[in-house]
Symmetry: C2
């Protein structure tokens, strides 16, 4: 784990200070950080697939609020997961080399998914459909994720 | 899709009546049902992994409420996903042969995960840890899921 996330092993202390002053406590080691990112991203991938099915009329419209909420909550975990400068996994070094851009994209994603969840609550599938198209995984993945082999 | 989930193709009508009088509208075809189950289950698997990490001090304690909420919300989607008697995927026929038992287990899971989320909100990781151990995926999977090859 990089110096940015120093104060290591304060697993239960709750708050360490990174460049952004985010609380990023409590990863025991570097692999934990990579695993955490992977789990959160996979949840988001499943949720995007679920929401895509719903907007295409292939899954229950009645679930749209719950699925959008899950996506939105999960997006909120990404900043904590990526703030530690732990290279490897599927992250390119560009995540931290261009942290200002990447970090802003995470913030934008949190706002966009919260907006999606709000749309779901207020307008159901009809309100979610146009917004979901604007939520691109690819935009960030092309730049910041190691391509799948 | 079985007769229990008849009134097919009412993808946008919102409500069809199964034996349980649950609203289980809106799967376009059988493969959609299987895919939906798979996506929800995968989200739950990722969330269980995340919560396990948190309770072991390997991931941020500050995320415990959000992760438990996601698990709880996702559990609520299982009944809709399994009520249609669509065989295949990783589901054994026993799901519907023993529907009373399976269905009760889903209901129990919804209660247990809601309880977990409440514990997270009220008592954080310390409250979640003992309850997480009581949440076994294996209990149902051994009986109702096709074993991985």
């Amino acid at each position: 784990m990089n110096i940015r996330t120093a104060l290591p092993r304060l697993a239960w202390a709750g708050i360490a200070f990174a460049g952004t002053l985010l609380p990023i406590s409590a990863f025991a080691d570097d692999q934990d950080v990579r695993d955490y990112r992977s789990h959160v991203m996979k949840t988001m991938g499943e949720q995007m697939a679920l929401l895509s099915k719903i907007t295409k009329g292939k899954a229950p419209a009645g679930d749209v609020v719950a699925q959008a909420e899950v996506l939105s909550i999960s997006a909120g975990m990404l900043k904590v997961a990526f703030t530690p400068k732990v290279l490897g996994g599927e992250s390119k070094p560009e995540v931290w080399d261009k942290w200002e851009d990447f970090s802003k994209r995470l913030d934008d994603l949190v706002v966009a998914t919260a907006d999606l969840a709000k749309a779901a609550r207020q307008g159901g599938v009809a309100a979610v459909t146009p917004k979901l198209g604007g939520l691109s995984c690819k935009g960030c993945h092309d730049t910041y994720r190691v391509p799948k082999k």
